[in-house]
Symmetry: C2
Subunit: 359 residues, 2 copies
């Protein structure tokens, strides 16, 4: 898989929801490690000269490393990348919206073409090493991110303080520099009106709940990102174990509520799911938010065996396929809002047809 | 066709929209003539004795008549008819909701089993002779109603005043005793927000605009009943000619607006129609009003060639099939609102599948 495919196609490692643990509810696991180099200004203070020096160090570390997965990664810098392609990376969750604003030669991405590993270069920190995997597997995600971390650390001098741990641009990341997060699909918790109560508890347990595109975004389509708040004073393993345990309780709650919805409002649920499927397969114009909301219902229907099985991979891909940059990439041209809504409806109709198993 | 079929099946002569004139927009033409017998109390004053006398006269007239279509009609009186069956007749537009309240032996219906001819017995007037036909054919409807009128008048003494014409219970019917009406499907006029303006003009031209179930009912699903207000001082032919001419202008306006909708909001229209079809074929619970609204959109889509052709007869039948009494008749039992909504969704799904031509 070459990096060209990363821009041209949708499927990424984390979308492979066929076999991973709990992947009907846990869409993906992500671990990211924030790292900074000693003796180089933090990203927001970089200029031409220090940027040049920084990139030289990164390039050499990448080239020198013997570690196989790092060698499989490719380096993209943003001065070579169109605004549309940078948005494509955002929609694939590989870089942040802020990061995508840049066109500097010293900002960019080291990425494995299957999207499982990515290092954001000069976002808020010098390096943000990320691993994304399908289903609930934070330990594995951490293990693989750490391997990249180790491989880079062999060649680079990371800013590290014996008492405080890794130093980061923002104090909330100091220590492990780790943020672990899970993307959960929780329709039954939402439908039964339990989300406020449950998410409040999660906050009290030290977890942050966010929408599908991270900080400050809404939870559309009942997708919620759960992540740790604390990075200091706990080991990475403890953070992951705690997030995993708490999430398992949330997953259990979601399963229980699905069961009771089936028992108490079977007709209403089948109706909601049927209508969502009917609209998605027949609409000619559809907004991104409406599509996500309806896809959530369809996914619930598939998971509950209430409609013909559509492959979870197809549904995972659709969530990214329907975003504006992916639509424009597919259409090969800029599009106004109405044209995007029309293209989105088309993409959904086609994908639901081909994604239907046994059809 | 026996009268049993009238209760067990949906299809009636006026639903045959395949070939009748303008039947894509004019669902049906109806003419009714109000007649009363001399020397018998008006319906609201009838008692056991006068009711008996009245029914004797009607029964004899019916039996004695040599007129073929009158001989093909069957007599049903309400003391023998369940409340459900009386509602079935209302939903088929053969009797009025008020009429259906009665269980008197002297109230009932003389009806041709294909539903094209019906005489309401002791509704507001002693006799209300009605003819229903598909499409725009008021003259023909009048001709056939008049034939029944003539056949009955040979045997019965109708209350008639040389100066005022036929005498009726309500003074607004005096004269011809005729009400001519057309059921029009006018989605484009509604969608483009012109209905208020157009219907106000129709009122000024002496027409009444009503919903699908007559006086005091809402216009659901963009079905509108247009009828003459005046029964006195104009001949039946003049009334019909005037209603026909004015309706042709409304039809023309509807066609023009469909054309401009297609030109100016093709996507939006296709989307609306596609969604309506998607919901109707996938919902598991649906209310009568929502179903009518969506069926109106689907019908518009079929008429405009935007979705696969569904036979207009199937769509006409569905409008009646989804009413509560028809659903309960089909289910063979009383149903609560949720069960009716579920049955309705099932009936619609099946009918749209079998009604799709070439499927």
């Amino acid at each position: 898989m070459s990096i060209k495919k990363l821009f041209a196609e949708t499927f990424l490692a984390w979308m492979n929801g066929e076999t991973a643990s709990q992947s009907d509810i846990v869409i993906s696991s992500r671990v990211r490690l924030a790292r900074n180099l000693s003796d180089i200004a933090f990203p927001h203070l970089l200029n031409q000269e220090s940027g040049q020096k920084f990139m030289q160090l990164i390039y050499e570390a990448w080239q020198k490393s013997e570690f196989k997965e790092l060698k499989q990664m490719e380096l993209v810098t943003f001065e070579n990348l169109s605004a549309l392609d940078r948005k494509i990376l955002v929609e694939k969750h590989l870089i942040s919206p802020n990061h995508a604003q840049s066109t500097a030669f010293y900002q960019g991405l080291l990425v494995k073409p299957d999207g499982s590993l990515a290092v954001m270069i000069n976002e808020e920190d010098h390096l943000r090493i990320q691993c994304f995997l399908p289903g609930l597997q934070l330990e594995e995600a951490y293990r693989r991110a750490q391997e990249i971390d180790d491989a880079l650390e062999k060649e680079l001098d990371f800013a590290f303080d014996d008492r405080r741990g890794y130093l980061t641009s923002c104090p909330t990341n100091i220590g492990t520099g780790m943020r672990a997060s899970l993307m959960l699909h929780l329709p039954a918790i939402t439908i039964s009106g339990q989300s406020g109560h449950i998410f409040q508890n999660l906050n009290q347990l030290g977890l942050t709940v966010r929408g599908i595109y991270g900080e400050g975004t809404e939870a559309i389509g009942n997708f919620f990102q759960l992540s740790n708040q604390i990075t200091l004073g706990q080991s990475e393993e403890d953070i992951n174990a705690s997030l995993t345990t708490i999430s398992q309780q949330v997953i259990e709650q979601e399963r229980m509520l699905r069961k009771s919805l089936r028992e108490q409002m079977k007709y209403q649920l089948e109706d909601r799911i049927g209508r969502a499927y009917g609209i998605l397969t027949h609409a000619r114009l559809i907004s991104s938010n409406e599509a996500l909301t309806l896809l959530s219902d369809v996914r619930l229907g598939v998971d509950m065996g209430m409609i013909p099985r559509i492959s979870p991979n197809a549904l995972n891909e659709l969530v990214v396929d329907i975003r504006p940059a992916h639509l424009q990439k597919k259409a090969g041209s800029d599009m106004d809002a109405v044209s995007r809504d029309a293209k989105r409806a088309e993409v959904i109709r086609e994908k639901l047809q081909t994604g239907e198993e046994g059809s």
